[in-house]
Each structure stands twice: as structure tokens, then as C-alpha cells.
Subunit: 348 residues, 2 copies
């Protein structure tokens, strides 16, 4: 007896369609999957019957039989974070257009959790994986990531990453983090700032390394290096930004600007400056990075580096939808400096 007959919901099966169309399930299967080896009229008839009945293939049966899966897995650090939410939006848009479902995983910003989520996705037999978090500089993390990814691709899976993942060897959409870091630091230096506090996330992340490298390039043109600046590491979040701001202000009360390595941190920085009654940009200038949607509406409107997050999400999935290339593809996502109200010429 069929399962689920308790409800009226018992889904149609391929046999139902085949019977109604007067063909074998083999023919019905081929017609529906668009495979060759069926006459045009036969295929048309089967498809018409399927459409009429509202038949949709059971993905589990299909995946089990074919070994392939249409599912796409998306790994983000934290979906509540606007940066990842906007990327996810782009991924969903493209997935939708291709009739694919996306499974989404949190890592909570822990690299080993990321490896575990990757494994979970592989076990869930998705056909494509998009990793939206930055690569990690730790060799142990890298090799574990690489093992998962290679196993997955060897089995026919496709993966694309957003951000630089050293050594991973897969298709990637790489934001212009170095150029962005250079641009935002140049902007601050051009306004006369020299005592710049940097609010950074974990420096083990490739994203952080790249943004800092850009900052360093700009500094060098002015005879400075990062070592001359207070660079404070904290969580790469709003609360982390608060934390970093407090430490910068307490230990280096003479800073005239705080350069946060993402907008979330910048919001936290603004919040602490507000609490302490420090005027922005009157007394201290503040910058962010990413340009999340609300950045232009903050108090004050945030000077930051724009990155096209949604587009990055779209491109990553599009890359992964392409057949695997002999050598990994790489798309660069351009940055753009957005000068707004949170920065001004250095005081005094």
C-alpha cells in the first residue's frame, strides 16, 4: 500500500503520469527530464499530461537514482548580518531563476564550524555549494576546507566562493578589498588624519588581511605603516565595533579618526562615540566598509567602501552553475569609495 494515503496529499508518481499517457515509466522519465531518445510528439504528450496532473518529480528518488542533485547549499557566517543577507538575496534570485532550492547554513563565524557545515552540505547531497564567508589564513583550517571541497568536486559537485580563499582552487568572486582598503585610507589621509585607529575583525581572515594590506599601501605613501597605528582586533560585528572603539579611545585618546573594517563595526564605533559625546566628524571621523543598505542613512551618514553584495551573490551562483573549468575562474567585484557625512578634515 502506498504511504501517505491517510491524507489527500499523496503525491503523484511517475507511474501515474506514464499510465495516463499510455507509455512506460522509462519513456515518461526521459520525456520529463528532457533526455534524448524520445520522439518529439511522445515527449510533448507526456509533458502535457504531467502539467495537467500537476506532477513534480520526487527529488529524493531522482537524486538517489541519478546520483546528482539540483540543490544548492549556501554557507554564511551569520544570516542576520546585512552583508550576508544581501549576498543571500542574490543567490536566491539566481537559484529561483534556475528552479533550484537553496539550503542555508550558519557558521557563527567559526572556521571549524564552517568545515562542519560544508560536510553537512556534502552529506545532504547538494549539487552546488556557495561559500560566502572569507577564507581563513590558518593552514589547518585551509587544509580541512580543501579536503571537503576536493572530495565534493571529485564526486561531481561544484563550488564557488565569495572572497579570497588561498589554496582552495575553486571558482571565486573576489571583492576588491585591497583597493577598497587603499581608497578609504587614502581618503582619511587626504583629510589630514594621521592618528587613525583601526577597528578590525580577526586578522586570520583573508578579508581582513586584504583590507589591511590596502590600508598599509596608502599609509606607506605617507611614510607610515600599520605598526604606527593602533589596530584593535574584536568581533566583526556591531558589538565588536563598540568593543574596539572603547579600547582605541581609552588607550589612544589622541586619535582623530577610526577606520572600521566593516559597516557593522562602524555602527558600533558611532554608537560608542555618541555615548561619550564625541562629535562625528567634528572631533573624530569614522569610516566603514561594505556599504550595506542603511549605511547612507546612519547618524551621521557613513563614509564607506561600496561592495555590490547582492551582485556578488548572483555571480557566485552563476559561476557554480557553469561546468567546471580546467582552471578556477575568478571574477573581481569592484569597490567604490562613498564619501558621506562621517568624515571631515582633521581638526586643529
Amino acid at each position: 500500500m502506498r504511504k501517505h494515503t491517510a491524507g489527500q496529499a499523496a503525491a503523484l508518481r511517475l507511474v501515474d503520469v506514464a499510465e495516463r499517457a499510455g507509455v512506460s515509466i522509462a519513456t515518461a522519465s526521459r520525456a520529463l527530464s528532457g533526455a534524448s531518445g524520445v520522439s518529439a510528439e511522445m515527449a510533448e504528450r507526456v509533458r502535457a499530461v504531467a502539467a495537467e496532473l500537476g506532477y513534480v518529480a520526487n527529488v529524493h528518488a531522482r537524486s538517489l537514482a541519478s546520483g546528482a542533485s539540483p540543490g544548492v547549499g549556501l554557507v554564511v557566517h551569520e544570516i542576520g548580518d546585512p552583508y550576508f543577507a544581501e549576498i543571500a538575496s542574490g543567490v536566491l534570485e539566481v537559484a529561483d531563476a534556475h528552479g533550484r532550492m537553496v539550503q542555508i547554513c550558519h557558521t557563527g563565524r567559526d572556521p571549524y564550524t564552517e568545515v562542519a557545515q560544508l560536510r553537512a552540505l556534502v552529506n545532504a547531497r547538494v549539487g552546488i555549494i556557495v561559500v560566502a564567508g572569507s577564507g581563513h589564513l590558518d593552514p589547518d583550517v585551509q587544509s580541512q576546507m580543501k579536503a571537503q571541497v576536493q572530495g565534493f568536486e571529485a564526486a561531481g559537485g561544484r563550488v564557488a566562493v565569495i572572497g579570497r580563499h588561498p589554496q582552495l582552487g575553486v571558482d571565486a568572486v573576489v571583492p576588491a578589498n585591497v583597493a577598497g582598503g587603499r581608497a578609504i585610507a587614502d581618503h582619511l589621509l587626504g583629510l589630514g588624519h594621521r592618528r587613525i585607529g583601526v577597528a578590525s575583525g580577526s586578522r586570520r581572515l583573508a578579508t581582513m588581511a586584504d583590507r589591511l594590506a590596502g590600508v598599509e599601501q596608502a599609509l606607506r605613501a605617507h611614510g607610515l605603516t600599520l605598526d604606527d597605528l593602533p589596530v584593535v582586533e574584536a568581533e566583526f560585528t556591531l558589538d565588536g565595533g563598540k568593543d574596539a572603539a572603547r579600547r582605541i579611545l581609552d588607550e589612544h585618546p589622541d586619535v582623530t579618526a577610526i577606520l572600521a573594517l566593516n559597516d557593522d563595526m562602524a555602527v558600533g564605533v558611532l554608537s560608542v562615540l555618541g555615548e561619550r559625546g564625541i562629535a562625528v566628524p567634528g572631533e573624530i571621523s569614522v569610516t566603514g566598509f561594505d556599504d550595506v543598505v542603511v549605511a547612507g542613512h546612519l547618524s551621521p551618514a557613513l563614509t564607506t567602501v561600496h561592495l555590490p553584495m547582492k551582485e556578488m551573490g548572483r555571480q557566485a551562483l552563476e559561476l557554480a552553475l557553469l561546468p567546471r573549468a580546467a582552471r578556477p575562474r575568478r571574477r573581481t567585484a569592484e569597490q567604490q569609495l562613498m564619501v558621506r557625512a562621517s568624515t571631515a578634515r582633521v581638526r586643529g
Copy 2:
């Protein structure tokens, strides 16, 4: 020959574990799924072997054989929207804790797309569906939703919704939208505002109806009704807020406050007021609804109604994880008025 032997990634199967443990696959299956009918030591041995080998069951095979699926589907209007991103974060957190993967779907705010996504999820054979968007007042939409949901639950699926969905008859987490609407309108009225423009999303949404009903309750205490106010319908987004603000200002230049029915719209309203050089709250007060994370950091900090979005996401999935009850459960998510800098006593 086994599939996938091209790569080293050929996943282990239950037979591999069973062989290694010296038992039948039936016993191995029972041991691993925690079913009864296996001796404790046998079960322990099998589990040890599975752990050692790193075996994870193929979800597709398992779902196909058992008819049940551990997957959870999440339907949101737009994942790039902070309201839904925060809800999703809560859902993912609980899903993670239960070892379940979540498939996420966009509706683009279209009710018929929502029905279609529901159907897609049912076809994907998830075991649980969480619908995060507001219910719709259109009877045709309601009956289509209901048909999908009932079929799904009849087949053993579980669904929970966030927001009021009239007639749906499923477990629900319902935010205190009426009370919130009353509170925010009361606040404005208490400050002396009478000419209040309302920036609303589609009034076909239950959420909108409820928030407006709350506003109306507050108005009545002052001898007013909604009909006395300019209520402008637009997209329930930042751009929709801009649109609504322009129409309100152009057609009713005498308003002293604009009450937006969510924070996204409020941000758009603030943006237009800024463009036109209208001081907030000096000339016009502005309020939002939801209290997304950045609301307190906007320019000016937004007076709004706090809703615990992440917690709502958690609760919804927790409800859906429970066995179906005789009558639908309902949890209320409390609101809290957050008075910040965007509202002030009416001028002159």
C-alpha cells in the same frame, strides 16, 4: 559498479558500516536511527563503527524509504530585508541545534509566488515549513495557501507561521501588531500630533490591517479615525517609504508627523525629509515599526516599536518541531515602544 568512484569522495553506505560491525544492514539501520529492537551493546558497537568511519546516512535514500524528511523549509518575502534576515537567523539557530538543514525561499512579496514556493517546498519533501511572511486578506490567496498547507499536514508535515494568517489553522507566532500600532500612535498623539501621515504597505496584508487597527484605536480616544488621516499605500520597503513620503508631503504639506508601518519605510521617509531639508523631529516627527538592529543608529535614532524578530524565528520552528496539537497553538510576541530621537512635541 558504484557511482562516483571517479573521486575519492565515494560516500560510505550503510552496508559498509554493517559489514565492518559484522551485522545486517537492518540491525545497523535500527542502531543508527535509534529505533527499538536492538540490544544496547549491538547498538553501541554499530554507532562506534559509524563514528569511526565518519558515516552519515544519505538523506535522499532515508527520505525515500521512510517517507519522512528532516528538512525544514523557510518562506520569507525577501531575505535581504533585515526583518526577515533576523527571523531567519533565529530559525537557523534552532534548526542547527536539532541537526536539521533549512531550505529557504523568496516570495518577492507576491502572495501567489508564496503559494508556489510552498508547493515547491512540499515537492522538495521537507518535513517542516515555517512561513515568515504576513498572512494575506485576499480570500483566493487564503484558500490556495490553505489547500497547500492542509495537504502537507495531512501527509504528516508540520507548519508554523509567523504573523496572523486568518483561517489557516496552524501553529503561529503572532507579534503584538495591534498593541504596537496603538502604542506608537499614542506616543505621537501624546506629543500633540494630529495631522499624521501614515506610510503603509499593502493593506491586503494582515500585518498592515493589524497595525492600522491599533493606530485607529489610539486615534478614537482622541476623537479621530483613520479616515481623517492621509494613509498612503506603497511598497513595504525603503523605496516604498520614499514614495509614500513624497506623496504625503506633496498632498498634505501640513502633516507634523509621519508614521511608517515598518522601519524600512521609515528609513525611506527620513531620506526624503533629508533631501528636502525638513528637520526631524524639529519640523516633522517620524516613527517606524519592528526595531531592526540599526534602527537605534539611524539619523536621527528612530522611535519605533520593538519586535523580537530573532526570537520569533526561534519560536516558530520550535512550535513546528512539536507534534501536531488538536487545536493550533499560538504564541504572542510582545511589542515594546522604543522612544528615541526622531519624535518630538508638535511644533508651534
